[in-house]
Amino acid sequence: MLKSKTGMEDGFLSSVGAGDSTMLEAPTKITALVVDDDTINQMFHHRLLDNLGIRNQVVRNGKEAIDVHCSGKNFDLILMDMEMPVMNGIEATRKLRAMGIRSMIAGVSTNTREREKFMEAGLDDYQEKPLTTSKLVSILHKVHKDG
């Protein structure tokens, strides 16, 4: 439903968050995949990324995240929810790593009880919901450092 806008201009991360001097300075060509079953979160995460000029695609569960990679797509960043139907975030992260996907995967969840298990599945980062611009920016800093 919320596919990324192709042809969207690359934005400047430095243009967000007035007063925050730690923003990334380079124009971004970062691409992202949002994996979440909740429509509100889909809209919200899509818009948060869009607002930072990051082209992004939205899928509804772990299985769809695998499928989109099988079709040859690749993303710099994957925002992965944990509790989802069909295939949850833990299993999806494990599978993506087993497929050799080296994208930065950030877990975004409310379930702190299984945080360790989620991290061990192959996450690079974990953020508690609700996601905010500053949390997203802290994730993006890591993308730049690693890439």
Binding site: I40, F44, N51, E83, P130, T133
Partner: protein
Amino acid sequence: MDVVVQLQRQLADHTASLFHEGFLNEQFNQLQQLQDESNPDFVVEVVSLFFEDSERLLNELAKALEQQAVDYKKVDAHVHQLKGSSSSIGAQRVQGVCIPFRNFCEEQNIEGCLKCLQQVKHEYSLVKNKLETLFKLEQQLIAAGGSFPTL
């Protein structure tokens, strides 16, 4: 008094009370910040989805808790969803009731669950009313030729 000024004052008071009385938290500001010229209805769209989702979940919860043998796993999954969507829009009083609700699910405490369902329904209808008033005031203000400060 100028209609626009009066509406602006009303809107400011109403918004302030929503935060002071704890109906909304800073997450709602996050949503407002994501609204711009290219997404002028973002907040209304997300909040409408929240209304739809919540009403569906509250119905499902009422049904699930009426059963002879209550499926607490199912109840917990619904409460988890409600907690997630309420936290996404910053409806913190709804979100707040979801925490004891989930604990009662874990304990399989039917009275506790039913009490929480009543509370969460109550909190939901309060915040729904407040948000609808907020949107109405915003519309009236725009119709009167005014604009409201975006955060």
